[in-house]
Amino acid sequence: MNYLASVGSYAIMIREVFKKPTKWRIMKTLILKEIDELIFSSLGIIIFISFFIGAVVAIQTALNLTNPLIPRNLIGFATRQSVILEFAPTFVSIIMAGKVGSYITSSIGTMRVTEQIDALEVMGVNSLNYLVFPKIIAMLFYPFAIAISMYVGIFGGWMAGVLGGFLTSTDFVTGLQTDFVPFHIAYAFIKTLLFAFIIATIPSFHGFYMKGGALEVGKASTTAFVWTSVVIIILNYILTQLLLG
């Protein structure tokens, strides 16, 4: 029953976010600040993780290719498919649910605890629009981060494959080009956009409606991460079935 009530409150929150917009002059600054906080400051960790995961995917594939009849360029193919279809959009989104999600919950939660949200409400500001809308817009740039993740992941696979002596550069590139389906990129970006919305809104919900003090801010961050991850995983399944099934 509590879960249902939370889903209802979440839907009401989303509706409120798009009501009574804040002045564009102020909103513009808030959006730019959020792009910096949520996207640019995450690029380092995204690039780091993508590179090594791409490399590991390539090595694991190479080590499992024991049959001499299977061409070595399959390593490039497998790296591309893993990175584009699942690793970059889904795995990175789970990481972002932790990094960006906990930042969102704790920053909004702290504003709740210190009555800053009440102060906004008393002034007549739509606090949900002021706090959450810029985060949603900033997260529209998330697909650019995922595009970088895809590129770096495949580059990591190439580095590990070629420098590790598992295949030649030409084989890897041949594998990358084999059976390429452009819709897979579209599928990955559709998922990414929906995950971006989830990463911006579920942690905001947990921060905005939290009650208590500093300890509860920490608890809300953990809960937000768990629920954001759960929703991403379930949504990933549904979207894969709908778009590729």
């Binding site: 002045k23 800053q116 009440d118 102060a119 409400e121 008393v122 002034m123 007549g124």
Partner: protein, 255 residues
């Protein structure tokens, strides 16, 4: 003036406000006192429009809150200033940013006009040198003064303060009390202060409302509170030794 007419507020089974009626007067400091759990904060939040009473009306200078449209309610809120117990300053903004925030949000003033207004109110609260400091870099008393500056920057008709001197040393508390009283008179606004502090009551209480268990138990002036025979009020007021002695002296003097 704020006319509170028989308001009731509940949360689930808990009936917090049980029919409170009073008139909060313009140009005066109206103090709400009472023990913790008496309903003071809920009452204040009802006055601010953060909670909607289930029964009764709150009328702000002839405007009945319940009858206002969403836009009118928002406009009315822009006529309210609030000083929170913990100051509630935006910690990502400087002192200047905090005070300028309502102007940026709700006016079409130029940057220079806003700057002039911010300078004027910061000067009024004796904080002219703290423009570029962040809330975490200033003392509790200074934070309260910034909160007061932010509350009055839009020339409000109503000023609400939730325990404005909690956590402050007695000297700073007196400064804050006096500042609020002076601003109330200067701007001719309706000021409502929620407090536990009997020093504030003695210092600036022009009208005092005593709440007990969600009811209005007593109301009067600071002179009347010493003379009242209401047991709940006397128990509350004279819970400190200092005030017990003052009371004793008063009775001896009277006899």
């Amino acid at each position: 003036m704020i006319d509170v007419q028989d308001i009731h507020k509940s949360f689930g089974d808990a009936h917090i406000l049980k029919g409170i009626s009073t008139k909060l007067e313009k140009g005066k400091t109206n103090l709400i006192i009472g023990q913790s759990g008496s309903g003071k904060t809920v009452f204040l939040k009802c006055l601010l429009g953060l909670f909607s009473p289930e029964e009764g009306n709150i009328v702000y200078d002839g405007k009945k809150y319940a009858d206002l449209s969403d836009n009118e309610k928002r406009e009315l809120r822009q006529e309210m200033g609030m000083v929170f117990q913990g100051s509630a300053l935006f910690d990502s903004m400087t002192v200047e940013g905090n005070v300028m925030f309502p102007l940026e949000m709700f006016t079409k003033q130029s940057k220079t006009e806003m700057q002039d207004r911010v300078n004027a109110v910061l000067k009024r609260v004796n904080l002219i040198d703290a423009h570029h400091k962040f809330p975490s870099e200033i003392s509790g008393g200074m934070q309260k003064r910034v909160a007061i500056a932010r509350a009055i920057v839009m020339n409000p008709k109503y000023l609400f303060c939730d325990e404005p001197n909690s956590g402050l040393d007695p000297k700073t508390a007196i400064l804050i009390d006096n500042l609020i009283k002076e601003i109330t008179e200067e701007y001719n606004i309706t000021t409502v202060i929620n407090t536990h502090d009997m020093n504030s009551v003695m210092q600036i209480g022009e009208k005092i409302i005593f709440l007990k268990d969600g009811y209005k138990e007593w109301e009067g002036t600071k002179n009347e509170i010493f003379k009242t025979d209401n047991e709940a009020v006397t128990n509350f007021v004279y819970s400190s030794d200092l005030f017990k002695k003052v009371r004793q002296m008063y009775i001896e003097e009277r006899n």
